[in-house]
Amino acid sequence: MPTASQITMVPVVIDEEKCIADKGCRTCIDVCPLDVLWINENTGKAHMKYDECWYCMPCEADCPTNAVTVNIPYLLS
């Protein structure tokens, strides 16, 4: 199938310095109602894998290290 790879800016940003996913934390991944946060295989840290965010904020509110920032998706901002 012919496909295009388009770039999309995702609204949720995770500060890799602060993220302790390598110590086993999965909180933001667990709570996200849209299941769009996953572990980045390359870094071992959490990241937004799918651009399907309701900007609802449990990920940010529940992160133990304040590593998550929810921005308003660009199309709406």
Partner: protein, 577 residues
């Protein structure tokens, strides 16, 4: 035939699908009814933070509190707001248990606003009565529910999407097939009774922003329950009575006139003038809103800039911390300050939601659908304007009744051939190596909905829309998912297509106009009580075709006088002179 080993079957007494608002309450009620019953709560996301109230709630929109109103008056108000098309017994069952539920939640630690004397601090927002109870500290509600689930030892399965309901030979529902959203595993849950609490169908229309997940409703609520109920043979009702909400333009979250109204804020036109008498949502109110948007006086705004500093701070505290806390960020990004600027509003895309409107899977006052063993509560079931408290009350009603139904039932037999066929179907997109990506499929369905099905409704347009939606069925065998997450979206997209077809079909069937904007049918502009003072039921007929029928409205338990009947028709502010 036996099921292959890689399909695990879990046996429970009561299965609850959807762990948002109604679901956890249903699970607790089932355990309270029969502590020995095996109760499972299945959730597509994680019950800790799922559903409409994932971050909390600003208030109760429909609290029937003694001293402020009565169940009879509430039933009247809701009947009028729905142009008479209601199962009054169903609304009454809610109203009679409303206060008891508030007290139960209060005893669990949910904080409701009280006045100096310790009484509930009720606010008037509705056209006739007083029903709004603020919850400025409403952000811990999910935590409180979760604690109850644990205390009652409810089995919780997170990250499973229910995809199809199962029936036994007698025609009673006996469980569901579910798909793990993380590893695409298909499981079967066999149950003696099933309660659906899957929320609104909030992903049918396309938000004006074009962002698929920028919906008013929590986008996990995409109409799975509506589609599952349809396929298992249950009737749906009032689907032509769309949900369309007033909201903050682009942000698509509620403007919260219910919060700001009692503090002096209001919905205004571009001139800053009030144009509706009452901010309580109804089809009639939405019609006025739409007219103002389309007319020379639009856009429409939430006006707060006349309020005192401390009032604005109070509003900011509630609106920027509770229900949709990213709202403050949205305003900051655009430099919108309530003190100096009116906030632009708009209307939402269409959806099905009994919580705010009246459309959904038909249930009676016991929470029963038309299929034995299947119950429904909350936004997906048909009790109109039920909001959060209605979800709790009907969750409880269903929990009690489903438990009694299950008590007398033997372990049902599974239809293995059906399960195997369904597993093939559900997993098919993952087995392909190319095809149509779910997001493009979904975008197309939802774009067709906006182009052809949004009011004002026009026969010719809806015919084209329905034909194009039918044509998209031929695309389903080409849906392609690269991973389990995309498979979840591919299955959701098919349910969204079902909902879109149902919206068109029911709208074409009801040949009159009713509920203001919700069913504003240009080809039939008048309300026709002689022919259409009835419910419209939608179902799958014996030939597997989508069908509708009229159903008589049961005799009212609370009569209305003539003057009251038209109260919601007079929402436009009368101009002087």
């Amino acid at each position: 035939m036996a099921l292959p080993e890689d399909i695990s079957v879990i046996d429970v007494d009561i299965l609850i699908i959807g762990g948002g608002t109604a679901g956890p309450m249903a699970a607790v009620a089932a355990k309270e009814q029969n502590p020995d019953a095996e109760v499972m709560l299945l959730e597509k996301a994680n019950v800790k933070r799922s559903g409409a109230i994932s971050m909390g709630m600003d208030g109760l929109n429909n609290a029937v509190v003694p001293g402020h109103s009565t169940p009879e008056n509430y039933v009247k108000e809701i009947t009028i707001a729905n142009d008479g098309i209601v199962l009054q017994k169903g609304v009454m069952a809610y109203a009679q248990r409303s206060f008891e539920m508030i007290q139960k939640l209060d005893s669990w630690g949910v904080y409701f606003q009280k006045d100096e004397t310790g009484e509930y601090d009720m606010k008037k927002v509705h056209h006739l009565g007083t029903y709004v109870l603020p919850m400025p500290e409403g952000h811990n509600i999910k935590k409180i529910l979760y604690r109850r689930l644990r205390r009652h030892r409810v089995t919780v399965e997170n990250r499973y999407q229910a995809v199809r309901l199962l029936k036994d030979k007698s025609g009673a529902v006996c469980g569901c097939i579910a798909l793990s959203t993380r590893d695409a595993k298909v499981i079967v849950i066999r149950a003696k009774a099933v309660i659906m609490c899957t929320g609104a169908a909030g992903r049918i229309g396309l938000p004006a922003s074009g962002y698929l997940f920028g919906t008013y409703e929590n986008p996990a609520n995409c109409g799975d329950g509506h589609s599952m109920a349809y396929h298992v043979g249950a009737e749906l009702t009032g689907l032509e009575c769309y949900q369309i909400n007033p909201l903050l333009k682009d942000y698509n979250g509620p403007a919260c006139a219910y919060v700001t109204g009692p503090l002096g804020g209001y919905t205004a036109n571009a001139k800053g003038d009030r144009f509706i008498e009452c901010d309580y949502w109804s089809g009639q109110m939405m019609m006025e809103f739409y007219n103002e948007l389309q007319g020379g006086n639009g856009p429409v705004f939430l006006k707060l800039d006349h309020l005192a500093e401390e009032t604005i701070q109070e509003i900011e505290h509630v609106l920027h911390t509770n229900e949709r806390p990213s709202r403050g960020r949205f305003h900051d990004g655009r430099g919108t300050d309530y003190r100096t600027k009116m906030v632009e509003m708009h209307i939402s895309e269409i959806g099905f939601c009994a919580g705010h409107s009246a459309s959904g899977v038909w249930i009676n006052e016991k929470g029963e659908t038309t299929v034995p063993g299947l119950y429904g509560a909350g936004d997906m079931a048909s009790i109109p304007h039920s909001y959060m408290l209605g979800a709790f009350v009907y969750g409880q009603i269903c929990g009690e009744n489903a438990t009694e139904f299950a008590r007398n039932r033997e372990l049902p037999e599974l239809d293995e051939a059906f399960i195997l066929r369904e597993r093939e179907r559900i997993l098919a997109p993952l087995k392909r190596s190319d095809g149509i990506p779910p997001n493009q499929f979904e975008y197309k369905v939802r774009r067709l909905v906006n182009d052809y099905l949004q009011p004002p409704k026009i026969t010719k347009k809806m015919d084209i829309g329905l034909a194009r939606l039918h044509a998209m069925e031929a695309d389903i065998p080409y849906l392609y998912a690269r991973d389990p997450h995309e498979l979840l979206r591919a299955n959701e997209a098919q349910h969204i297509l079902d909902c879109a077809k149902m919206a068109a079909f029911a709208s074409l069937y009801r040949q009159e106009s009713r509920w203001g904007l919700y069913h504003n049918y240009v080809d039939h502009p008048q309300t026709d009580n002689d022919n259409w003072f009835c419910h419209v039921q939608l179902f799958k007929d014996e030939q597997n075709r989508m069908s509708c029928r009229k159903m008589a409205i049961e005799p009212y338990v609370v009569e209305l006088d003539e003057q009251e009947k038209s109260a919601y028709q007079q929402l436009r502010v009368k101009r002087a002179g």
